[in-house]
Symmetry: C2
Subunit: 395 residues, 2 copies
């Protein structure tokens, strides 16, 4: 007898990117496909020391059930960092610890979205968000990302013509496009959303990974209570501990607490305590600046290699931070076809169509530069350049 799954599961399948990542697990392949931070930069010894210290010194209390909101000193640390880095005044009670910002996307969707509600996203957009939000059966609308952030004219047209319930955005070094919203775009978007009373889920996993240019304030600074911020320790400390946070005003936070409790009672408390100990005993800014120096070199190396060896008809972004850059072949070419050829030459990337809702973006691609090194980048990009030239010539 066929199992009757819930309607929300219709058409939901294994992530396409997951399938691609499986292909690229072959160690002979130079992969720019994944989205992993560079494990060579993980503060392994410091985490080991923090783990020992917390478990030995604090004993059973760090191993017991804990509150749904998360460890208060950790939430205070996050609130202080908002104040320090962007002047945002957040009360620790407006912060709840989740299992990576991915869980924040799920919980916020859960409290806000009815079936058929309209959600505005960026195009290209973060696939993990599309997957999480999809399970609440919304109708997606999208506005294009330009070089300085989302196309505000498109956003305005959409807000005018549709009752949008929620917008999702990654304003810093977006995944997949590597694009960062300019100051003007931030203010402009906030003002538009205010007019229409639309909540913004502002996901910021990469904001600290800035190699150059000026740090820009969260859109929530202008948007105030309509802004829901997501943050993550995955890219600045280690991702395997699955710790991030949601930051929202009290009315929303009260509901998030209810669904978080129903979802898994609370996030891993031992990990929260270990992470907090690490943050107390170490200088996070110093560590982040080490990551940024390394990623900057890797990005510059990748950009230089691409400028040198890619055909001029292939364009790409020069991100000021983050982990990804985004390229485009001339319109009539397909990066799916390119992927098939590249994988045979042992180099991989993600075809950009995966980040579009409607089969668009077939000529685009995403490259990850964080989980690599200069040697592999030189070799991989040279190889990819050959494959691209051959493909453009033969088609």
């Amino acid at each position: 007898m066929a199992i009757q799954f819930a309607d929300r599961m219709d058409g939901v399948e294994d992530s396409f990117i997951r399938e691609i990542l499986k292909v690229t697990e072959n160690p002979e392949i130079i992969s720019f496909a994944g989205g992993l931070p560079n494990p060579a930069l993980f503060p392994v010894e410091q985490v080991a020391v923090a783990a020992e210290k917390v478990i030995r010194e604090q004993g059973s209390c760090v191993l017991q059930y804990a509150t749904t909101e998360g460890y208060l000193p950790l939430r205070e640390y996050i609130a202080n960092r908002y104040q320090e880095k962007s002047g945002l005044e957040i009360d620790p009670s407006e912060i709840l610890i989740v299992n990576g910002s991915q869980q924040g996307i799920d919980l916020v969707s859960k409290i806000l979205l009815n079936k058929g509600d309209k959600v505005l996203i960026e195009e290209p957009g973060y696939l993990g968000a599309i997957q999480a939000i999809s399970l609440y059966q919304p109708q997606f609308l999208s506005a294009s990302l330009l070089n300085d952030g989302i196309d505000l004219q498109q956003v305005e047209r959409i807000l005018k013509n549709h009752s949008i319930k929620l917008m999702y955005s990654v304003p810093n070094f977006q995944n997949p496009a590597g694009i960062t919203y300019s100051r003007e775009k931030r203010t402009g978007l906030a003002n538009l959303l205010k007019v229409y009373g639309v909540h913004l889920l502002e996901d910021n996993p990469y904001g600290d990974l800035r190699f150059s240019g000026e740090n820009l304030p969260p859109i929530k600074s202008t948007l105030k209570e309509l802004g829901i911020l997501l943050g993550s320790f995955s890219k600045v400390t280690v991702p395997g501990i699955r710790l991030g946070w949601v930051c929202a005003d009290s009315e929303i936070m009260r509901k998030i607490k209810v669904v978080k409790q129903a979802a898994d009672l609370h996030s891993n408390y031992m990990a929260q305590r270990i992470l907090y100990q690490y943050l107390v005993d170490n200088d996070l800014d110093e560590h982040v600046s080490k990551i940024n120096q390394a990623y900057k070199k890797q990005k510059e190396c990748m950009v230089a290699c691409m400028e040198q060896s890619f055909p001029e008809s292939v364009t790409f972004t020069r991100p000021e931070g983050g982990m990804f850059l985004w390229g485009e072949l001339p319109e009539r070419f397909s990066t799916f076809e390119l992927f098939e050829k590249a994988i045979k030459k042992n180099v991989a990337f993600v075809p950009g169509r995966a980040f579009h809702l409607d089969g668009k973006g077939d000529n685009t691609f995403r490259l990850n530069f964080s989980n690599s090194n200069e040697e592999l980048i030189k070799k991989g990009i040279a190889c990819l350049a050959d494959v691209i030239k051959e493909y453009l010539a033969e088609k």
Copy 2:
């Protein structure tokens, strides 16, 4: 402007038990209200050793992103334990690691339940499950727990008259009632569910905590592919690491993997590796038997005190394991009223109405014996006995 939350949030509020637990945080109160394992029995030193070892020896790989399914050797350990303890043949691919079995309840509800689908639960029932399942807007039906498990006549009547989508049960040392299904009840229930093709979500957080009597097989042994098992390390190792699992046949598991990935990518990988190291370096059975010796003493002490000092009109269960026992005052009395009086005398329990769907069970109550010791039990039960006697006399 009022925020338009999703319909699923209607009437969902902070857990009543949470409110009660807040009252009982006062250190002067002897609380039998909570549901915590006894932290004095946590293997703190062993967890510290495992943490050090895994992080130092395995380094960055235990701190990186990992697969959605969970650490394979941990899933193999769980599969072997099913085989060893109950002869159940489970392939590790049928196991997925989640953030405590609570997350399993959420994910299984997510893949199966449409709004209005009918879910059969036990009465009294586990509140955390009712809360998690409620968010998928089902219609609940319930069948009473008798001393040897659920009332099969009620179950049969319900299955005959309603199209039940899912049943949820805690067949071992149930929370709140402490009741365990007999072998006959297990087979009987499995056969009924088979006839009607109904999936059973079989939650088993307390199964290993058996102090006396014979170990009984999971209902899934008879129910086969209609059975979805939940398991947890919270009660046999430590709860703060939030690790449990879902065990289901491949068709269901494929969908669970999709929603788990959307929910939080994967469970804390560092914690999975630490837990596995702990399990390899230590004898879990030996540790569980230490817990059981302690809980058995605590339960026997509580039962003896209650037999000695409670009025005969107050009845209660004598569980063979787990963490709770369940009592009843004569019908016209209210344990809410009793709670108000008890808290003034610095002793606490949970009024049983919280575990019923429809305001029934007003004369029932739950006592936790795990997170206590004999001295506190003697003192607390003596005090509660006085409050009960006074209350029964005056009403």
